[in-house]
Amino acid sequence: MKKILKYSFIFIWSTFVLVPLSWALVTSFKPPAAVNNGATFIPWLQFQPTLDGWKDITGISGYANLFPPLINSATVTFFSTLISLTFGCMAAYGLSRFSYGWKNYKNPDIIFFFISQRIMPPAVLAVPFFILLKTLHLLDTKLGLVLVLTSGLMPIVVWLLVDFFNQLPKEIDEMAMLEGCNPFEAFVRTILPLARPGLTVAGMFAIIFGWNDLFFALVLTFTNVQTLPVAVVALNGTVTPFWTLSASAIFSILPLVGLAFVVERFLSKGGFAGAVR
């Protein structure tokens, strides 16, 4: 009885989560008739699948091409993640190993200050960022967007990694220094290799947040730099058919799904093993 209850709960929840996704997937292959004449779900049985929707978004039919936005998104996400990981892990290491501060404000307060930047709703920051980028002539450029995204990703990276570094015994870096490494070498040669799992997790978060950012991209870029979420939303705003919209939605999450599979394999292959006992 307990088991039935348990499984039915799991079933209901999975349905709730999976149905919209699978519906979108199915819809992206539908011909107009299968959408307009009432709900249909099963390809080949209820309708003959077509690639029309996919042709619409890949530039083949000439309707829209999501590849340039994809490349924009990838570039912006890659660089903002790279910058936030590079400097974020250094900041996190510093905060984990040395003590900074002024009067009563010590490391934990600094860390809170970092993460507090994420408390503010992005809408509040939109106007200041807009003016800032305009002054710097960085509006509608990739560099401008990378900088703004980095300012949002860095706190997450620092916050995640400080905790991770705190778990690595301090004695390991001390020993590296005793054995001839200066502090920077100790960090690069002994702490970073041990921090791989932490860096992976932090990087994953940064990529997801960066990839899915709609708000800043919408406000701070216009025509030159259109990211994928912006492009998808733009399709939504026009008279785009449902199958094309569905295809664009699936298209925009595919790269992340692929990445998730790779990372999952890395982690299960022992990316974590042997790091910390």
């Binding site: 390991i172 020993m175 005793l178 054995e179 002994t190 041990l194 042997g274």
Partner: protein, 362 residues
Amino acid sequence: MKGSTVNLDLRSVSVDTETEVILKDISFKFEPGKIYVLIGRTTSGKTSLMRTIAGLIEPTDGEIHLGEERLDEVPIWDRGIAMVYQQFINYPHRTVLNNVEFPLLRAGVSKADAKAQALAMLEKVGLSEFKDRKPSQLSGGQQQRVAIARALVRNTRVILLDEPLMNLDYKLREQLREEFRTLFKGTADSVTIYATTEPSEALFLGDELLVMHEGRVIQHGKPDFVFENPSSIDVAQIVNDPPMTILDAEIKDGKVNIGNLITFPTPAHLKSEKDGKYKIGTRASEVILGGSESNSEEGTVSLSEVSGSETLLYVKLNVGEVVLQLEGIHDYQIGQAVTISLAPNRIFLFNMDGTLCAAPGN
């Protein structure tokens, strides 16, 4: 890097923070080729002293010299000092061999030489067959051996060992202690400093003993001399395991009275002491079970402990708690009544301020 025969010279080294004094005015000259044992309780400053020598703590006052060099002005990574921690610290992501090679490679030794030297050192500590494992795949004793191999392989001028056996069980401690003596004897060019809380390790390994208490060195000398002639009650407690039992006593009219029940004629080594109030100390191994009526008191066992091949009895008397060490393993129940007496010729006499008055000698 071949070490040269140079002294490690501490000159009035002090470390303090805003709130507490960590090390207080420590001056000592360490010579190469000897094992110096720092003994003291947990927070006595042993670790801080080692970390100060290594450069992990900056002294607030004083100077550290290594030969001609002003060591406290050299950054950690250029000091050429090896350290072994109480916890088994190795690089978890490197194999055993790579762990031992690492300090050599950092010191600029060629890859081939580093490997040869690391392998030879692993052979010495008995870990050759584990060279390709990761440290986490080894037992605690083996992990500590890797750490020691890493410290010894560079042949540094100073080797610091901070309670390296503390986290091992007693059979392994016994075994490694013996290995240490042969391992460290081969380091004639190095100053070896070894911190411990265990008197038996200090006596077993040490050429020279430094007793630390509350951030100071309160006595130093040959281990057995310090053991026989502790300069104060603190030293006597620290260099005896179990700690020396200290009781209030009075010398009066040619008699030593401890409480109302234990009393005996003043023994020869205390004859010259004036009448008055004192504190007496007695080693657990020299307390006697049973005894004559005038010189004994009956008490109850509050705990019996077995350590290795000895039984320790904690006996509650009216005059205080006495620890008694019996050879062999015996069965005593908590609450059991036992009679205790003291060996008059084995009594240590201390002034009321804790300084030594007279020791029984050996």
